[in-house]
């Protein structure tokens, strides 16, 4: 019972939010609203699942929001450039998807290599690449907005807006990635190694774990998931600019911490991250649906809930240590 309450904390908060939302506005539980909230959560959700691995291994990545904007930018440029030769078909869209995913691998590898090979603090590395990616997309867009060709947009649009019934593709992808992520963290060798490195990397090294390679892999995995998020993001508005993905990194990190993963590493909980992501998007949604407080205070409410969620866990942890 004692342990259950501790791990189930975020879940209890989520259920409480759902009940609150339903009580405040009957439109809250309508399928259309649920679809909206889940689909919107998918971008941060995919990134946060990857972030769970990076943080669990004792790392951090501040560049993911800028990286998403940059990948969206180059994917749009690639599709627009390929259009005259490949024509208006799914092949061209696949080119864009490929560019986003491969770009994600490259960007994640860059972060990971700087952390593991050049041995620079992850905070500093990713603070640097955050600025680099953000400037690059602003530069590519000439300070404005990169827009996908109208015909391609129409073709690509269903990737965000359609799906199986009211369960749209972003929701499906998010669910699959979450399940795979949870399985990997709990049952695969990679997941165990990541947790071992995060709790004590020296011991992990003595246990013949290739610490640097595993760390590098967590950043590459995160890069791939950022690329996947971009694949789903581009069809939504068909554009990217310097203001795309601003603060996504902090939302992703907040979701990971709310979910019960330790910021200092060593203990990762992917399902908790998923709950954290849902909590964050539900707060936004409920604040919009119900005129509870002045919109000026939305940020404050979010802040209070994030801190509360972490405080609950912290109290539990110190109690255990005693």
């Amino acid at each position: 019972m004692k342990i259950d309450l501790h791990t189930l904390g975020p879940l209890v908060a989520l259920v409480a939010l759902v009940i609150l939302g339903a009580a405040l506005n009957s439109a809250f539980l309508a399928p259309a609203n649920i679809t909206n909230v889940l689909a919107r959560s998918a971008f941060i959700g995919l990134i946060a699942v990857g972030m769970t691995f990076v943080i669990t291994a004792g790392g951090l990545d501040l560049s993911v929001g800028s990286m998403a904007a940059f990948l969206a930018g180059i994917a749009i440029i690639a599709m627009n450039a390929a259009l005259p030769t490949t024509g208006l078909n799914w092949g061209t869209v696949l080119v864009g998807m490929g560019v986003a995913i491969l770009g994600g691998i490259a960007a994640g590898y860059l972060n990971g290599a700087l952390v593991t090979k050049a041995r620079i603090e992850p905070f500093i590395v990713t603070l640097g690449t955050m600025g680099i990616f953000r400037s690059l997309v602003t530069w590519l867009a000439d300070g404005g907005t990169l827009s996908l060709d109208y015909g391609l947009r129409t073709l690509y649009r269903p990737v965000y807006y359609s799906g199986i019934g009211w369960i749209t593709w972003p929701i499906i992808v998010f669910a699959i990635v979450a399940i795979l992520g949870e399985w990997t963290m709990r049952h695969s060798r990679f997941g165990r190694h990541v947790e071992a490195i995060g709790s004590n990397d020296r011991v992990a090294r003595y246990s013949a774990i290739d610490v640097n390679r595993m760390r590098l892999l967590t950043y590459v995995l995160l890069g791939v998931l950022v690329g996947l998020a971009v694949v789903l993001y581009v069809p939504r508005l068909g554009s990217a600019s310097g203001s795309t993905g601003v603060l996504w990194e902090l939302e992703a990190i907040a979701a990971v911490i709310i979910g019960g993963t330790a910021l200092k590493g060593g203990r990762g909980r992917v399902w908790g991250t998923v709950v954290g992501v849902l909590i964050l998007s539900l707060i936004d949604n409920i604040l919009n649906l119900a005129d509870l407080v002045s919109p000026y205070l939305n940020g404050a409410i979010q802040g209070v809930i994030i801190v509360l969620a972490v405080v609950l866990q912290r109290e539990k942890r110190t109690a255990e240590e005693r």
Binding site: N25, A27, F28, A30, A32, N33, N36, R40, T138, A141, D142, G143, G144, T145, S147, Y161, R236, L237, S239, S241, G242, S243, T244, V246, D284, N285, N288, L289, D291, P295, Y296, N298
Partner: protein, 319 residues
């Protein structure tokens, strides 16, 4: 090297019989510093483009004018930029679009106290009487023109939702004027939430409006970036035929759709990013002409309709 060639040119001109005073004036170099926020969203992107474009053009037209352009991502960096311009480039004039009024007031006043010509653009300083020239868009008119259009084109009992920008005085002025213009009409404002002049935020806010309100007749998106997000949310909910959307600032994609007579986007209200060009040009004229260039210059907000849209369409600008 430069001075020698200038003297050579002067000698040559004198030899050719050109009046000497004109040559003296030519030789006097004036440096104009331009400090603006960096291109973080569509409107500022347009403003950056117009600033660079104007500087290039004026630099070619007036060889004795030199420009220093810096863009800043936050108020602290902008203060540093201005201090650097004073210390290392010894500017003769400053054109500044303050990131925020309060933190920039003292540094800009220091420039003025040093005897430089100061032009303040768009956002006033928190102390009056510092600047020589004030160039700005008209935020009150921006809200009023939109509000009047809503009042005239909606039936009594119509319901409207509003997306606000980043919480600032500028946004408050617009929204207050919009409210005032609607006063006395039977049009009801259902909700006002912040979309932060951002496409993604506006998309999410509009989705929630659509979930919350079964009847919406019109949307004041107050910015064209937000209008794009709003339109996408409306079409995802399949409610395109129920409501129209008014953005603002005259983004080229939106102006084009107005030109084509899009029913969802009947009109738009200008708040031209090219106002920075007016400011730079007028500051330059202060040094190259006798025309008096001090005072306040307010650029009015106009209604873009399908009939006049063509004159507001700049296909080369990124905005």
């Amino acid at each position: 090297m430069k001075r020698r060639s200038l003297m050579k040119a002067a000698a040559l001109m004198a030899a050719m019989g050109i009046a000497a005073p004109a040559v003296a004036q030519e030789a006097e170099k004036k440096i104009i510093g331009v400090s603006i926020p960096s291109a973080t969203h569509g409107f500022m992107g347009g403003l950056n483009w117009h600033a660079q474009d104007t500087i290039k053009r004026l630099g070619a037209a007036y060889p004795n004018l030199e420009f220093v352009l810096s863009t800043a991502g936050d108020p602290a960096k902008q203060v540093n930029d201005i201090e650097d311009m004073m210390a290392t480039r010894n500017i003769d004039a400053l054109v500044v679009l303050p990131f925020e009024s309060e933190p920039l007031t003292a540094p800009v006043k220091a420039v003025k106290d040093a005897g430089k010509f100061v032009t303040v653009v768009d956002r006033g300083l928190s102390q009056e009487g510092i600047e020589d020239l004030y160039v700005a868009g008209d935020n009150t008119a921006f809200g009023r023109v939109a509000g009047e259009y809503f009042k005239e084109n909606l039936e009594p009992g119509a319901k409207v939702v509003v997306l606000r920008g980043i919480p600032t005085t500028l946004d408050n002025e617009r929204v207050d004027a919009f409210r005032a213009a609607l006063e006395g009409s039977e049009v009801e404002i259902l909700d006002m939430q912040h979309g932060n002049w951002n496409r993604d935020d506006a998309f999410a806010v509009m989705q929630d409006y659509l979930a919350k309100y079964p009847q919406i007749d019109a949307v004041w998106a107050a910015d064209d970036d937000m209008a794009i997000g709003v339109l996408e949310a409306i079409s995802a909910a399949n409610r395109q035929d129920e409501m129209w959307v008014i953005g603002g600032a005259g983004m080229k994609e939106i102006v084009k759709r107005i030109m084509e007579g899009d029913k969802q986007l009947p009109v738009n209200v200008t708040y031209p990013p090219a106002l920075i060009s007016s400011a730079i040009e007028m500051t330059a004229l202060n040094f190259v002409s006798n025309a008096p260039m001090t005072g306040r210059f307010i650029i009015s907000s106009q209604l873009i309709t399908p009939e006049n849209a063509e004159q507001f369409y700049y296909p080369d600008s990124p905005f």
